[in-house]
Symmetry: C2
Subunit: 688 residues, 2 copies
């Protein structure tokens, strides 16, 4: 999954268990939506029919999206689909810069390796997964058995239905649900605005509000070479939004840490996030330097740079939350109260009491391994297409020989189809950018682990990071898809390969696997077991009011269209308009509007709402979620959260944190007056 633009979140306020049902918090499971709370607060009845329609029109595609016509038209963010836009571009046709508009179905261009999934059903499979593991010790064996159970259940479902099946771990192991998806492996680009309009304000405005981004792209799902028939689609609202409206946001939030313990948060604050932050900062500098060399480099690196900048800014916000003494005191108080409640009950005390300390000591014992784990295993290939391919080729060859349940997670049968689609897609590879990124990786590795680290010595082999990177990239043929397939089919072909990038991946692979195993056995296993205990304790005390932390699966958030008074006392209106966009368009990047926009200015109704904010609880992965009114119609599309919403990853407040959406009215106005996108307007039912 690619980095996601923003993050936003759910409503618990700073007191434990307080007022969560008066605020619009929650990334709710489809089958546990808090209908009563919404009806009580908004006087709106949420019917099963509405929830069902939202489920069948929602799409998991890199992040989120929705179906908006009976012919497979898929609506998502530009920053979600930008990898495709970048890959379809060339020196001659720069669709990132100029935008893309298909004049007819024949013009629609297939996105390399991109697939999309629609959730068909959810089944509780907790007994099948957790039934036979209760008596096992140690934690690492429990973990292995659980993984084997999951692999088995998924494979059985896939064999039976032919669909993609995935077991989702909820409440940190409190429940296991089987999600069954219809998968589309042919997704084509229909319409994209210019990057300058989609990401107006660039890195400066990212994660801020007021905002002026047309962060939209239209794709189309194809089946058997024809537009897919999609009778369950969402209609475009004629009215759009106004202040105070209730909206629903279905989508796939990817990661939240609301239930994390204090020890986890401190580990993030002091160990992992600072490393991630430093790595991203260093990679961004490299990509900026590379981009500054010439126009073609700038074009090639555009999507990569903007992704890394987005992650960097997100971690800046997360860190700012973790370094906020008020937030951390609130989390500490929350944990103290929960532990006191557990300790007050002898049976809970025995079962759950030690969980917090066990988690803390697992983090402590893993601390010194974290940097090598993250750099050599978890995020080694960040920013590099070739390195990502090389690692998958090396591992695919090896993992495929193993029984399904013994494989690394990414290579289980349930994942293989998607992985191969991405891995064997023809995508542009820029050797010069690859060299720059790999050199930066090697240099960062040396700085962080030291010149005497065995992996550092092995990968540098006496060369400078630049020389070494040049050697690996210049001798690689992995840009060629056939070569990838040839290698991935045979362990021997991989082992004997002289391909530079394959050699690099092999050089670090055994240590990377060892670090992964250490992580799984010493940290993840302890976490899974004990976080699950804490979740059970919460569940006993709290009942069904809780929703599980995010799992990149379909959830529904709801909230109100509402301005706010920000931390510095400024009154922030709920919506921006086109007049504000032109006012902020200074003519200098990233505040430069495309010529087409400047030309259309006089024809636009400048008071049309452009972007707007809501209290909906959304997070990274929700990007591209449709914003839907109580009639189930599209009134906008989520694309970001404000900077105040980032600490909501850990604890929800809705005083100043907001989700940021593009308004349906703004999109219609731009499609009509700026892009004259008549084909699209007709299909959306906006024009006859």
């Amino acid at each position: 999954m690619r980095p996601i633009r923003w993050a936003a979140f759910a409503a618990v306020s700073f007191a434990l268990f307080a007022c969560s049902l008066t605020a619009d918090d929650g990334i709710w499971l489809l089958n546990k939506f808090p209908k009563q709370a919404v009806e009580k607060k908004y006087g709106v009845e949420v019917t099963d029919d509405l929830l069902n329609r939202l489920q069948l029109a929602s799409v998991r595609v890199l992040a989120s999206g929705s179906i908006v016509s009976p012919s497979g038209l898929l609506f998502t963010n530009h920053h979600v689909a930008s990898e495709c836009v970048q890959q379809l571009s060339s020196k001659e046709h720069d669709y990132m810069r100029d935008g893309f508009q298909s004049a007819s179905e024949a013009d629609e261009k297939r996105c390399p390796g991109l697939d999309a999934e629609v959730l068909l059903s959810i089944d509780d499979v907790t007994p099948q997964i957790a039934g036979n593991i209760a008596a096992k010790v140690p934690a690492s064996e429990v973990n292995a058995t659980r993984k084997a159970n999951i692999a088995r259940v998924e494979k059985e479902c896939m064999g039976r239905t032919g669909n993609r099946c995935q077991v989702v771990t909820l409440y940190s192991g409190g429940q296991y649900h089987l999600y069954r998806y219809k998968r589309y492996d042919d997704v084509r680009l229909v319409f994209a605005p210019e990057f300058a309009a989609a990401a107006f304000g660039g890195d400066i405005d990212n994660f801020t509000y007021p905002r002026y981004c047309l962060d939209i792209t239209f794709l189309r799902l194809y089946e058997n070479g024809k537009p897919a028939q999609t009778p369950d689609y969402l209609r475009w609202s004629k009215e759009g939004v106004k202040e105070g409206d209730l909206v629903f946001v279905p989508g796939n939030p990817a990661s939240t840490g609301r239930l994390d313990t204090l020890a986890q948060l401190e580990f993030f604050r002091d160990t992992s996030y600072p490393l991630i932050h430093a790595r991203l900062g260093s990679l961004i500098e490299t990509l900026k330097t590379y981009s500054a060399e010439n126009a073609e480099n700038k074009r090639v690196a555009a999507d990569n740079l903007s992704s890394q900048q987005n992650s960097y800014k997100a971690y800046t916000g997360f860190l700012s939350g973790l370094r906020d003494v008020q937030l951390m005191s609130a989390k500490a108080a929350e944990e103290k109260r929960l532990r006191e409640a557990v300790n007050a009950d002898p049976s809970m005390r025995e079962s759950f009491g030690p969980a917090w300390d066990l988690i803390a000591s697992a983090y402590k014992s893993f601390r010194s391994d974290y940097a090598p784990y993250w750099l050599i295993e978890s995020q080694a290939t960040r920013g590099s297409e070739l390195f990502r391919i090389a690692r998958h080729v090396v591992r695919l060859a090896e993992e495929r020989k193993k029984p399904n349940s013994a494989r690394l997670k990414d290579y289980r049968d349930s994942e293989l189809q998607g992985l191969e689609a991405t891995l064997f897609a023809a995508v542009p590879v820029s050797p010069s950018m690859e060299t720059a990124v790999i050199a930066n990786y090697l240099e960062f590795l040396r700085t962080t682990l030291g010149a005497n680290d065995p992996t550092v010595r092995a990968v540098l082999a006496g060369k400078s990071p630049k020389e070494a990177a040049r050697g690996y990239v210049s001798t690689s043929r992995l840009a060629n898809v056939a070569e990838r397939k040839r290698l991935a089919a045979s362990v021997n072909a991989v082992r004997n390969s002289k391909d530079g990038m394959i050699r690099l991946a092999l050089l670090i692979d055994s240590r990377a696997r060892a670090l992964r195993k250490a992580y799984d056995d010493r940290l993840e296993a302890v976490l899974t077991e004990n976080v699950s205990k804490i979740a059970q304790a919460r569940f006993r005390i709290r009942g069904e009011a809780d929703y599980p932390d995010a799992t990149f699966t379909l959830r529904i958030s709801y909230g109100k269209v509402a301005g706010y008074k920000d931390e510095r006392g400024r009154d922030i209106p709920y919506a921006t308009d086109f007049a504000g966009l032109f006012n902020r368009a200074k003519g200098v990047e990233p505040f430069q509007l495309p010529a087409r926009w400047l030309g259309a200015r006089s024809s636009l109704n400048l008071k049309t709402p452009f972007d707007f904010v809501t209290t909906a609880d959304t997070h990274g992965g929700n990007s591209g979620s449709p914003t839907v009114n109580t009639k189930g119609e599209i009134v906008g599309i989520l694309f970001d959260g404000n900077i105040e919403s980032l600490p909501n990853r850990f604890i929800y407040t809705d005083e100043t944190s907001r989700s940021v959406h593009v308004s349906a009215q703004g999109i219609a106005e731009a499609l009509q007056k700026v892009y004259r996108a008549n084909r699209l307007l007709k299909e959306l039912g906006i024009e006859q």
Copy 2:
């Protein structure tokens, strides 16, 4: 003059000559204050008595300040006086971190080398300066004659009155006024808050609003070892400010470029400011790295780092204005109209017509010399105490031998007293910080001018920048005041000195002087002559409605206390309050409040106004200006402008640009409840 915190500006709007009397623009000369315009707009009569009181209570001290008691109490910004606070601090007593409060007169500590001046009189001396130069050619000779005339008039005045006298060039040479000052060379520290309270929000909040800074310091003027008698002082207002109030801001704006031609602005945008920006960025990185090493380094570098960051952010704002196509088109249109008006009148056309092109070609011819000029002559010593001292010692020895009128400007008789007071003051010198700053200078010099530049080769002499810097600093004895005096007294002592820093200053001095001469003859002389012509043309067309660009001399601005709607449509209230301060105090630098503040929280009236904004036209150098109501009472103190005000350096708008002040009510509340500064409160008349 030290870098100044903020900048803000005057009111011309984006159309030439339009509405300048309906907006609150103008940095007005004391003797040309627009009384009628103010009376018409605000219904307030501005009397000569009020202007006179403002003049005699205003103080030029690094930037601006005012006298606020009959016993010489001087009120200015913390960031103006912070150099003194830093210099009085030691490892044992860190007044920057902890603040300073004198319990009695005996506790007040003298600021090393600091002097302060009060303006006594203004006389027009245009005939004496410009009378005998009309017929001279070339421009360089005109320039030399003018400088000689100025030196003569200043010296004559000084001899006659015993005061410090300075000829001020107004309207770019359209007029020359003789300013006579009473000078105080004994200024002592009375009260300073903690840096964390004075500069709350640090570099992040600098040049932004809403804001929460207690950016104040109290000093005291002494005469003959006793507090000075100052019957002309400003009283503290009991009411403070409220929205809509008219206020006056007397002070010393240092530099504006409202009358600059397009060629000048383009030179700033494309040549000089990017260089300055890069140099500051590089120096800031060096100081941050140095500060991160340990707590003592952090203490030592605090003021230096915050000054450089302040300049960096100011240039960021200036550049953003110059890169704004709307601003530049407005300036281009303004210039076009003025040139058309000049060309439409045959006599004006002959006298003034060629001025713009002559300026443009002077900039063009100097462009390739600009980087060496700026780095070797103009700003060589930036960030270094020892290098600044070394250059002055080297030049003082040499210049003193010359006749007054032939000396470099800084060494004219009128400047000598002030220069020697600073140069021979005992100030702390940190060899480790000096080494870091000089190394950064040498490295930047090499990067910018290239390794083969003769000055670069001479100063590095085959060493790395770090080695070279270590050599210069470790062999210097200039931290010793007696050594400075000994050297400055004799050209031979300087020439034979083995002092590392003296050698460094000598190594670059002849090229530096040559670059200065080239600058004076080829650029400054052309500018003086032709900018003056443009000013005369404007004057003929516009009449007395114009005020001259800033000259770091006393001006009066006026404006309204007023919130605004910012560029992104947010409603910004006119004032912040203490509640907002505590809300923004996250407990992490630079949003960490001192313990004293946290302890006083419950006793404070949290609704007390803290900082507020006005439309007054203020600029760098205005820092510390009193904010005065129509009764001539203190209602606040200016300390900054918002980021939107920075482009006002070139063209005034008051839609979103604002000056930022600390409120008198907020200061009183903090002095009473947080600092319990009873002695000060009594002297200010706030408490009995």
